[in-house]
Amino acid sequence: MSAMALPRFALDTDRRAIAGVCAGIARALGVDLTLVRLVFAVLGLAGGAGILLYLALWAYARARRIWLTVLLAFVSGALVLGAIGLSGSGILGIALVGVGLWLALRRGRSLRPDAPVSYWGLGLAAVGVAIAVPGGTPTLLAPAAVAAALVLLVGPWLWRLVLERDAERAARVRSDERSDVAARVHDSVLQTLALIQRHAQEPQRVSALARRQERELRGWLYGDLPHGNGASSLEAALSTTAADVEEVHGVRVELASAGDCPVDDGVEAVVLAAREAMTNAAKFAGVEEIDVYAEVTEDTVAVFVRDRGSGFDRAAVPGDRRGIVESIEGRLERVGGRATIASTPGEGTEVELRLPRSAS
């Protein structure tokens, strides 16, 4: 834990009116300069205490004469107390309390919370209270002095607790993040690397694995894809689908998109139909690459699945092959969309899936 930063006092000669004491205080405490000057002016009216205090601080800053400063400050404090009508013994008592507390905390030469407390100082402060209270001091003052003493003693300790708690929380957040990354890398990258080693002899499978991993990692890094299978947008869902097809069939799927939209029942049907189209292309077209393009406008969702493969003649496809009719055309019709399949033997196939957005 780092030490508490105490305000450092030095003359501020850039903004000085006399010697820069007020400006220095304002800077050290981060308060308004005018306010500090006002306080000194008011104290100056209290039997000249403000002037003495000013001199005391000036002596401290210029000559580092600590005893002179303390002496002047005491006299100045006594003047203030006298000005508000305290008796001599009251002033003496309060002075003793002040010195005692100062001694109590001075051990370790600082107000750092972990510096040990001097019991001599505490004793002196207690004596001070004992003198001040019966000395005709206003009754409020004694409890106030005790309260001030408590604040001085307990305050730094509380402060330390708060700082420690913040540091702990930050450390916990960091370590949570680290374990999250570790878990993610373990579940994805390391698994994939292991798989790649096992399948080193099958270049297609290796490259499909690598591409899937790349897609996942990129999705995670750039936040394009939601984690896991709960795809929330058309693009994310198509991306997951494409990765699956790549992995299962060892093809490459190039996915491009313009616009995106949330997944509802209609869009889900489009994604499933696109998956069927990709699978067909991977299985029958004899190509290494499939292009998928998704376009979302205000009124339409359109997905194109294209390959440059062998193509087919629709009339020659046996009637018992349900893939196209059921999984693509039927699926789209049921949600109010339309599928168009254009294929030329020898040149390739393109499946176009269209869904009006109002219907979805």
């Binding site: 591409r211 790349e214 990129r218 750039y222 936040g223 394009d224 947008s233 693009e235 490459r252 190039e254 996915l255 491009a256 998109s257 313009a258 616009g259 995106d260 499939i290 292009d291 998928v292 393009y293 376009e295 406008t297 194109f304 294209r306 440059r308 393109e350």
Partner: protein, 211 residues
């Protein structure tokens, strides 16, 4: 004559792979792994085409283009990346790259793309075409300087076909155009992407990432 190219990429494995895949179709005159290395090298070698990674250890690919282009206006840049973050891609394109392809491209296609970039045409991968369509549409919704910020129906058609995976030749056949015309449409789109002063484009790209 074979195009003289410089490869800028910090992944040495990938550099070696590209070199092997391109084989004899190009002359690789130099390679660099960072912005600091690439800038003086390109200025010195004055190659026809620079294949540029979008991400380098000490900056983006756009930093290389910005540093080189004023001194060597003849050098053409082709961005090559696995990065799909839209704003990164748009940044290199706006800096002046004449195209963007992904690293999964085959050697043969890459050689074609280099040739196309060398002759001053643009190369749009399906992905970039999708980005461009999306960006221009976002701009049209907001309105603005129509001349520069909108695509003509033909340009949009061409971009859509590129996004769907069609090659220039196939697009030309489908739209009954010449390949040259298709190329000039694509170059026009590139110019619009590069010249558009509209903030929308950048904003779109940033938003896109958050979708």
């Amino acid at each position: 004559m074979k195009p003289r190219i410089v490869l800028v990429d910090d992944h040495t494995l990938f550099l070696a792979g590209v070199r092997a895949e391109l084989g004899d179709s190009v002359e690789v005159v130099g390679t660099a792994g960072s912005v600091a290395e690439a800038v003086p090298l390109i200025k010195e070698l004055d190659p026809d085409v620079v294949l540029l990674d979008v991400h380098l250890p000490d900056g983006g690919g756009d930093a290389v283009i910005n540093a080189v282009a004023p001194d060597r206006p003849g050098v053409r840049f082709l961005a090559l990346s696995v990065s799909d973050a839209a704003e990164d891609v748009i940044a290199v394109i706006r800096a002046g790259a004449r195209g963007y392809v992904t690293k999964t491209i085959s050697g043969e296609e890459l050689a074609q793309a280099i040739e196309r970039v060398r002759s001053g045409d643009a190369v749009f991968s399906p992905r970039l075409a999708g980005f461009a369509l999306d960006a221009f549409r976002a701009g049209e919704r907001v309105g603005g300087d129509a001349e520069l910020n909108e695509l003509t129906p033909r340009e949009r058609e061409v971009l859509q076909l590129i996004a769907r995976g069609y090659m220039y030749k196939e697009i030309a056949a489908r739209l009954h155009l010449s390949v040259k015309t298709v190329e000039s449409h694509v170059s026009n789109v590139l110019r619009k992407l590069q010249l558009s002063t509209r903030h929308e484009l950048t904003r779109w790209a940033t938003q896109h990432r958050l979708v």
